[in-house]
Amino acid sequence: MHIPDGFLDPKVWGTASGVSAGFTAYALYAVKEKLNEKVIPLLGITAAFIFAAQMLNFPVAGGTSGHFLGAMLACTLLGPLQGFLVMVIVLLVQCLFFADGGLTALGANVFNMGIVGGLFSYMIFIYIKALIARISGEKRALLISAAICSWLSVVIASAVCAVELALSGTIPLSVALPAMVSVHALIGIGEAAITTVVLAVVTQARPDLVHAMKLRLPAGQEV
């Protein structure tokens, strides 16, 4: 899903870069007091972890494979803004040093995988989790809603990617959207399974490391 340079036209990559830069600036500002010298190594190593996890291919069907995205996982483990910043850094390093994803497309890639696949999916996750928590336990609600939302995060990120390619006039929407969404609906199942297994194991072993375990809706907000 990493868009290379040349696939987007200036109005699309320009807009996406502006929006992504704005979100990044806001995230940096909002978590500023938490960004002490202790968090820097932690986020750096977590970013390296996401990168390493993305290199593990998992089987989809009959020998074809997909790879892990990790945006929802990063958000549930670290909290939305810090998870988003980790994704920004992963994409930045992949672009600059691995030439994976283009420089002008960096804003679009951050938009797809960080904002849509991370922050937006996490917002849906908060509400779904609160809904499910009413009828079952806290931990089960966490796992079920994480599964739903990580599947969703991959699918909507791929749909947005298809829309960007179509708006740029590169690939018509009638071709790009079904192709991207159908492939990623399958890959999303893998994403959901991995995210859920990881959250299940980590809440068992080190519940203190899971940000979403401490999550409560802000006072006064009802679902």
Binding site: G6, P10, I40, I45, T46, A47, I171
Partner: protein, 254 residues
């Protein structure tokens, strides 16, 4: 993963390696932006961009074999999309190739996108293989990229290869136990691997932080040498960007 695969040639000596990272970053980033905003039909401009890239490639002394092997890693996806472009577009008349007919507009777009992405990827590869990682980050910092992003990137890069190796070690252990992942319901195993990797990475982060603090870490990396823009660096940036702009503007045959 070989630790030095990405910046293996970033420590050799050449006129390009000696440049200030800011001059290189500005020049390559400008070329990428100029290149992707070039109209599809201006083939002449792409020839100029490619010439600029090749001149820098030869001056840098980065082995061609290495350069193309890195290009090959990113090529498949670009090719996959480009091959289908002439079939997906209609317009600009048809070109018939035996039994199949292709749209002229689609072919033009295929050529342009292929060239744009190849030239841009080449720029990024040249930048990362002629500049040491720490220098490039320092240069970006001087170009007003937030310090938090560069410092975290530095940590990420430092531990990247360690964690990738760890992931590959675990995957090898899995394979040696006769795991043959073929279908999606076997994905649970990958989940356990990712979970293990995460727990180990967090524990590693705690150890690293303690070790860093005991050595006086206060949130940024001290540098031995300061980077400095000289006349040579300005000249390179101006010539390179100027060449690209001329390529973008001048249209001798259209």
């Amino acid at each position: 993963m070989r630790h030095d695969f990405i910046d293996r040639y970033s420590r050799i000596e050449s006129p390009i390696h000696a440049l200030d990272p800011r001059a290189k970053a500005a020049a390559f980033f400008a070329l990428i932006i100029i290149c992707v905003s070039t109209p599809n039909s201006d083939w002449w401009a792409f020839v100029i961009y490619a010439t600029l890239v090749l001149v820098v490639l030869f001056a840098s002394g980065v082995p061609l074999r290495y350069f193309f092997s890195r290009l090959l890693i990113v090529l498949p996806f670009i090719l996959l999309v480009c091959i289908f472009l002439p079939f997906m577009h209609k317009g600009g008349g048809q070109v018939s190739l035996g039994p199949i007919s292709l749209s002229k507009e689609g072919l033009l777009m295929m050529r342009a996108i292929l060239l744009k992405s190849l030239i841009s990827v080449s720029c990024l590869i040249l930048l990362s293989s002629t500049t040491q990682f720490a220098d490039l980050l320092h240069g970006l910092e001087k170009l007003y990229v937030p310090r938090f992003l560069t410092t975290v990137s530095a940590f990420m890069y430092r531990y990247l290869f360690l964690l990738v190796d760890e992931a590959q070690r675990i995957a090898r252990a899995r394979d040696s136990r006769n795991y043959k992942g073929k279908w999606i319901w076997q994905v649970k195993t990958t989940g356990y691997i990712v979970a293990t990797l995460f727990l180990r990475s967090q524990e590693r982060a705690e150890r690293v932080y303690q070790a860093m603090v005991s050595r006086g870490f206060e949130g940024e990396f001290p540098r031995w040498t300061e980077i400095r823009m000289r006349v040579y660096d300005y000249a390179f940036a101006v010539l390179f960007i100027g060449g690209a702009i001329i390529g973008r503007m001048v249209r001798p045959w259209s």
